[in-house]
Every structure is written in structure tokens, then in C-alpha cells.
Symmetry: C2
Subunit: 354 residues, 2 copies
Amino acid sequence: MICSMLNIKYPIIQAGMAGGPTTPELVAEVSEAGALGTLGAGYMTPQQIETALRDIQQLTQSSIAVNLFLPQTYDIHKDAILGMQQYLNTYRVKLGITEVNNIPDMENLFEEQLATVIEAGVKIVSFTFEAPTKRLIEELHASEIIVIATATSVEEAIQLEANGVDLIVAQGAEAGGHRGTFLNVENESMIGTMALVPQMVDAVSCPVVAAGGIMDGRGMAAALALGAKAVQLGTAFLTVKESGAPNIHKQTILSSRDTDTKITKVFSGKSARGFKNTMMIDLENRISGNPPPYPLQHILTSDIRKEAAKQGNKELMSMWAGQASGLAKVGSAGDLVENLVGQCEDALQRISWI
Amino acid sequence: MICSMLNIKYPIIQAGMAGGPTTPELVAEVSEAGALGTLGAGYMTPQQIETALRDIQQLTQSSIAVNLFLPQTYDIHKDAILGMQQYLNTYRVKLGITEVNNIPDMENLFEEQLATVIEAGVKIVSFTFEAPTKRLIEELHASEIIVIATATSVEEAIQLEANGVDLIVAQGAEAGGHRGTFLNVENESMIGTMALVPQMVDAVSCPVVAAGGIMDGRGMAAALALGAKAVQLGTAFLTVKESGAPNIHKQTILSSRDTDTKITKVFSGKSARGFKNTMMIDLENRISGNPPPYPLQHILTSDIRKEAAKQGNKELMSMWAGQASGLAKVGSAGDLVENLVGQCEDALQRISWI
């Protein structure tokens, strides 16, 4: 089954959250606890990936995964970018950082990132934002690497399976962070986990991993009942001790309510779910239509979001979180894995109406 | 537990879908099968309710419920209504029905509807669209009537419990038909069932019923694992033999995909999930801001939707459905209840990773 396929004890995957939360300590602790730790390497340089993987491998011998973002094509509209920079300067001034008025250099590191991951001997790679091509999957299979990809609709899952993906993450509308949608992106259906998982399970023959709104063992039990073979959790791992998420982000999650998040494109150019704050609402009101496309807008807003996180200013940073963030707990990543398994068994035991 | 409270065998509620689907035969068959049948009486006159309840009571002695819409306050903007009528006349012409250019008479039948239900000896009443007041709930309790109400957020559930509701339906974003939202209606958070149920269960002490995206025993098992004490299904009951839904609606559900539905206000003035079609998209493009409020817009579009259903024209009617409609099956309502229970047990048995 999926546990022997991924060489793990429990069918739990820690989502590959890019941008800092997935420290080597988090990834290693998750895997040591019997789940699958994932390095969120989407924004990392090959050198950073190499270092992180070396650190992880010093902490654990267990199975780990790396998540990468597949490269995307996009148009560069200079005026829109410069206009955005100009507006973003109002935030930069507030935070006391240098104003920026240029078009950022864009470099695509995907090939080098992937080469680094393969070189380091990682045996599980997950992708988001596009369908990995047949050719890419064949190359990875030739290196005995298991390929995981994300789908937000049945149609996307069918395409991923046709391309040869080994395992599909069904990302429900509840999920925090970036949406993995790659078909009909402008008309996204936002299908809830409860509806998405059984339809996807019926449509593909490879194992489906449920993601979105799962925070504890009740959600894990529910996902398995729907036919998922494993669960993937992001938000739940953000508040654990080993997570590299900024403290203000952790605190906001721990005190959050079910209605606090929203899907927005303004931070990165791509739809993602995070806590409503001044920057989100302000930019949404200002931008008619779409902001510059991902990854451009991500780069444009990065310095602001990083500085705001450093200053503990939660109004000018992106704080990704799913719709069940209010169920987050503190503790170690190992505690979380253990609790998930224990509560899952309890939840299943508790069901009886006869 | 909930089954003895509602005097049913299985923790399954057939949603009180207004507008025709809940025929006396459907309600009676569901209750005869051991679940809770619900007459969707929101749009019925007191006389129609009386007749329907008499018919149901001739078919079954089992427990049934009636669903009513709580009255709402709204403003009447004559110009907006007349402008809407004028535009809707383009549809009326297409369908060959009489053009309408007036402001409809509005009468609020709620008090008479409720009196009829109490008079008929119904012991379970469910409400949507508002929080029933403490006073109303006390009156119903005095008649030994159990009160069910719908919440789409934890905050709404807390208010319902404070008012004295006996049982709360947690309506996830996946659900078909009208949203039960009554707080922050203009800024609805659309929380998925997977995220909503456990947070609501933790926040209130009365039993929570899960709704939204549940179509088969896998969904039922999942909902119970999340902590719900029962499930409520609407779309799944639309395609059964006893359902009064138009054939074209049934056929559309049976051939639907996960991405076919959308939330819209254009049919009734209130957010509801249904299949995308010409009338939905066309009106959404035409209306800037909101259509006339519910129930005005519902009344304005009613003749068109009824005639289109009669003509089998699926482009000019409202076809409510949830995001898992593609899992619908044909058969009797009794078969559906039996399958739900059997599949639920199977789904729970099948879970094992050790």
C-alpha cells in the first residue's frame, strides 16, 4: 500500500510549504515520527537545497520528499509591473525599506533545483502548479523517484495520471496556501475536499492523497473514509515547534476563526488562501483584474512581506492558512503525527448509531 | 442519541428542498426506510402544506420533518425590479409565455405555514435563512417540536445554540441549493464541510449534522468521523424515483462533473449553488452588483424557470446541485438510504494502514 510505497509508517504527508516553514528540523522530525516530511524547495536556490538536504540527512535516515514548482510561461507587461512597484513603495516606505522601481531579474532554476534533488538521492518528489510532463516523469522514474502531483479537479487528476504520476494530491478548496490548479485557472471551481476526494478516487486508479481542511485525526479518519489512501497537512504543521513560520504567523493561526481566510492573487499573482489583512484587502481594491502573473508578483511583494514578518507586522505579509486553521495546536511535529494517528483511531471507534 | 431524538433508525436526513422535489412519496419513502424525510415547504401555501402532510401521513407513520424559510426583511427598489422584469421578458419571449411588467405582490405566509405544520402534528421543524428567535423556539418546544436550523460558520452555530436550537446543520460550501448564511451575508466565507464540521462540533454542545458534498456512504462515514452525529443529503435525493425534480434536472445531475456548479444570486436574490447555464451566466454578466433581494428575485424569475423546466430547456431554469453531484445514482429513495448505510459501514471497515 501507500505506506510501503513511500516507505513510511503512517499515511500522513507534511505539505511542502515553500518560503521558510519547512526547516530541516521539521522535515526530519516528521519523517522520524513515521510520516513523510517534505522540504518545500520551490523558492530555494540549488545551493540552499543542497545544504538543507544535507542537514536533513544528518537528522534522519527516513524517507523524505522535496516539493518543487514546475516552471510556467507568462507575459511581462512592463507598465503594469512598474505601476505595481510604485504602489508597493507606499508599503516599503511604511516599513522603512528601500523603494524599488525596476523590473526584477527573473531566472528559472527548475532544472538545477531538480538536478540537486536527484543528486542528493531523494526518492520522492512532489510538484505543484503544472502537470509534470510524461518525459519528466519517465526521467524521474528512471532514477527510481516516486512522483507526486496536485490536482484540484477530476479533470486535472486524469491528466496527471495519463502523464504517469504515481500519487495524486486532491487539494480541496479549504486548503491554505497556493492552489495547485493548472486547468481553467481563471474559472476555478473551488471544490471542497468532501466532494473532490471520492470523485477523484472513482476517476483514477493511482492512490489519492486528501488535502484541505484536515487538521487532526478526525479529518484524517474522514479523508480515509472518503477513499483517500493518505492525508497531506500544511497549516497543522505551521504551528509546531520545528516550523520556520514567523511567530506572528503562528500566533495568528492559533487564535484564528473559520471565517478568517480568503483566496487571493495579490501576494503572488496566483490564487492562494491566507488570512485577510490590510495588504490583501488594500491590493484587491486597488487592482482591477489580475496583478502581474506568478512568479512576478511574488517577487515584487517579497521584500515587503519578509520585512513585515521580521517586524512582526501582520498587516503587510502573506500568512497562508487553510479554513480549519483554528484547530491548530502547539507541540512538536512528532506530537502532531502521534496525535493524528491516535485521534484517527479514536474517531473511527467512536462512530456508532446502532 | 440523535436517532432516538428524531425517532429514526439511521442518522440520515433528506434535505427539505423547496420547489417540488420533496413529493409526499419521497418524504414517506425516506422515512419508511429509516431515515428522516423532510417536506420542503418553503414556497408552499398553507393549503398545499396541509394536503402534502395528509398524503405523507397516509403513506407512513414514521417520523418526518418540515422545512420552512424564516421571513426576512428587504427593501423594494421599484426601478430595479421593473428593469429586471424588462430584461427577463427576453426569456419570456423565447419561451412563449406572457411578458410581465409589474411589481409582484408579496405576501408573507410564514405564520400560517407554521400553524399548519403544528396543527398537523409534525414533531420536527427545520429552518433556513435566519436564526429562529428564542421566542419562536420556546413556542415550538411547548408543542414538543424539535427545532433544526442551518449554520455556515461557527459564529452562526453559536448564535443558533444560544437561541435554543436542538440540532444544527453545518452546511459546507459544497452544498447544492441555497446557502443558509445569515451573518456577514455579503462577505461569505464558503467554508468546506471538512473544515466546518469539526470546528462547529468543538464550539457547540448540541448535535451537529453535516451537509455539503455528501452523496454516498463514504461521505457519510467521513462526516461521522469528523464528529457529526448525522448527515443531511439534498442532491443525492434529487435523482431518486420518488423525487419531483424535473427530468432534465435529474439527467443533468447524473451526467455532471465536479466543476459544473457555481454559486449565484441571480435566480433568487440569495446565494445558491447550481449548474452553470445560459440564464445564470447571462444574468451575472448583465447585473452589476446584486439582483433584487430574495424573495423578490425568486418570484421575478419563477414563471420563466417553471416554463423552461416544463419545456425541458435546461438553459433557462435553476438546477440546484452540490459539488459531488456526479456521484448521484438512480433507484428508489429506500435504495439510497440502504446503500448509504451499507457503504458507510464498508468505508469504515476498509480503513487500515497498519
